[in-house]
C-alpha cells in the first residue's frame, strides 16, 4: 500500500493538482462523450418515430 492516509492519497506527494487534474479531465471528457452519444441516439430515434407517424396514417 502506497498511502498512509486519505489526505496523503489526495496530496499525491505535493503533485495532487497535476495528477488529479489529469484524471478528472480525462474521465469528465469520457463521461461527456457518453452523454453526447446517448443524446444523439435519442435524437435520431425521436426523428424516426416522428417521421413514421404520417406514413402509418396513410392508406
Amino acid at each position: 500500500m502506497n498511502w498512509e492516509s486519505f489526505d496523503a492519497f489526495l496530496a499525491m506527494g505535493g503533485y495532487g493538482f497535476y495528477v488529479w487534474g489529469s484524471y478528472a479531465v480525462t474521465f469528465a471528457l469520457i463521461a461527456m462523450e457518453v452523454v453526447l452519444l446517448r443524446l444523439r441516439g435519442r435524437e435520431i430515434m425521436n426523428q424516426l418515430i416522428r417521421a413514421e407517424r404520417p406514413r402509418r396514417s396513410a392508406p
Binding site: Y18, S22, T26, L29, I30, I44, Q47
Partner: protein, 262 residues
C-alpha cells in the same frame, strides 16, 4: 434482424466455404452486430479501467526521480497510443471506402474521429499537467508535442470536412483523402523522439526492447490502454449506429427496425 443482407442476396459467386466478408460491410447487417457487441466492449472497458486505476494508484510504487507526479503516465501514454492507433484505424476505413466503395467504411471512419480527437486532447492535456512540474513549462514547441498537436488538428479537419459537404458519400471520399494524406503524421509522432533532439523523453516501452520500468508500472499502463481501447470500440460502435440510422433513415430496413422497436 434475420433478413439476409443486400450483399448476401446479390448473385456474387461464392466458392465452397469461403466467407463473404462483404456481407458484414453493409450498414444493415453491421447495425445489429454492433448493437450486440457494445455491452461486451463497455463491460470490458469498465473492468480494465477499474483494474488499471487500482494498479496505478495502489500497486505501482512511487517513482524515485519524479515522486507521485509520474502517475500521470497511466493515462498519458495509453491516451497517446490510442490517439495514434485510432487515426490509423480511421485511415484504414477511409482507404477501404475509397477502394471498395462500401458505405459502411466512411461511416466507421466518421464514427472513430471524435473519440480519436478526445484521446489526442487527453494526451496533450495530461502532457501539459505533467510537463509543468517536471520541465517547468506547460508547453514547449518540441517535435513530439507539435506533431501530436497537428494530429488534433487533423482530427478536427476530418470532422469539419465531413460536416461541410452535404452529400454524405462525397463527404466520405473527400475526408478519406484528407485522412490518408494525414497518415504521414503518425510515424512522425512515433519516431519524433528519435529523429529530433526533443525535450520529451524517449519511449519507455517499445516493441523491440524490454520496458525500462517496474513491472507493476508497466502492468498499470497496459491495463489502462486496454480499458481505453475497449472504450473506443464501444463508443465508435454506438456512434456508427447513430450514423447508420441518420443516413439510412429512408430505407425499408430502418422502417422495419422501427416497427420492431415498439
Amino acid at each position: 434482424m434475420s433478413r439476409p443482407s443486400e450483399a448476401a442476396q446479390s448473385p456474387r459467386p461464392s466458392f465452397g466455404g469461403r466467407i463473404n466478408w462483404f456481407k458484414y460491410s453493409s450498414p444493415q447487417s453491421f447495425f445489429p452486430l454492433a448493437g450486440a457487441a457494445i455491452p461486451w466492449f463497455a463491460a470490458a472497458a469498465a473492468l480494465f479501467c477499474v483494474a488499471g486505476l487500482y494498479v496505478s494508484f495502489f500497486v505501482a510504487p512511487t517513482d524515485q526521480q519524479q515522486g507521485e507526479a509520474y502517475r500521470i503516465i497511466f493515462i498519458h501514454v495509453p491516451a497517446a497510443w490510442m490517439s495514434m492507433f485510432i487515426y490509423l484505424v480511421m485511415a484504414f476505413w477511409a482507404g477501404a471506402g475509397l477502394v471498395f466503395n462500401t458505405r459502411l467504411s466512411g461511416m466507421m471512419a466518421s464514427a472513430l474521429a471524435p473519440t480519436g480527437a478526445l484521446f489526442t486532447f487527453v494526451a496533450l492535456w495530461t502532457g501539459a499537467l505533467w510537463g509543468k512540474p517536471t520541465w517547468g513549462a506547460w508547453w514547449v514547441w518540441d517535435a513530439r508535442l507539435t506533431s501530436e498537436l497537428i494530429l488534433l488538428f487533423l482530427y478536427f479537419g476530418f470532422i469539419a470536412l465531413t460536416a461541410a459537404i452535404d452529400d454524405p458519400r462525397r463527404a466520405d471520399r473527400a475526408a478519406a483523402l484528407f485522412a490518408l494524406v494525414g497518415v504521414i503524421n503518425i510515424p512522425i509522432i512515433y519516431f519524433s523522439v528519435q529523429w529530433w533532439n526533443t525535450l520529451h523523453q524517449g519511449a519507455s516501452v517499445s516493441l523491440t526492447r524490454a520496458p525500462t520500468m517496474a513491472a507493476t508500472m508497466f502492468a498499470g499502463m497496459i491495463l489502462m490502454a486496454l480499458g481505453f481501447w475497449m472504450y473506443s470500440i464501444a463508443a465508435a460502435f454506438i456512434r456508427v449506429r447513430c450514423i447508420i440510422l441518420e443516413r439510412e433513415r429512408n430505407t425499408e430496413w430502418v422502417a422495419e427496425y422501427m416497427r420492431e422497436q415498439r
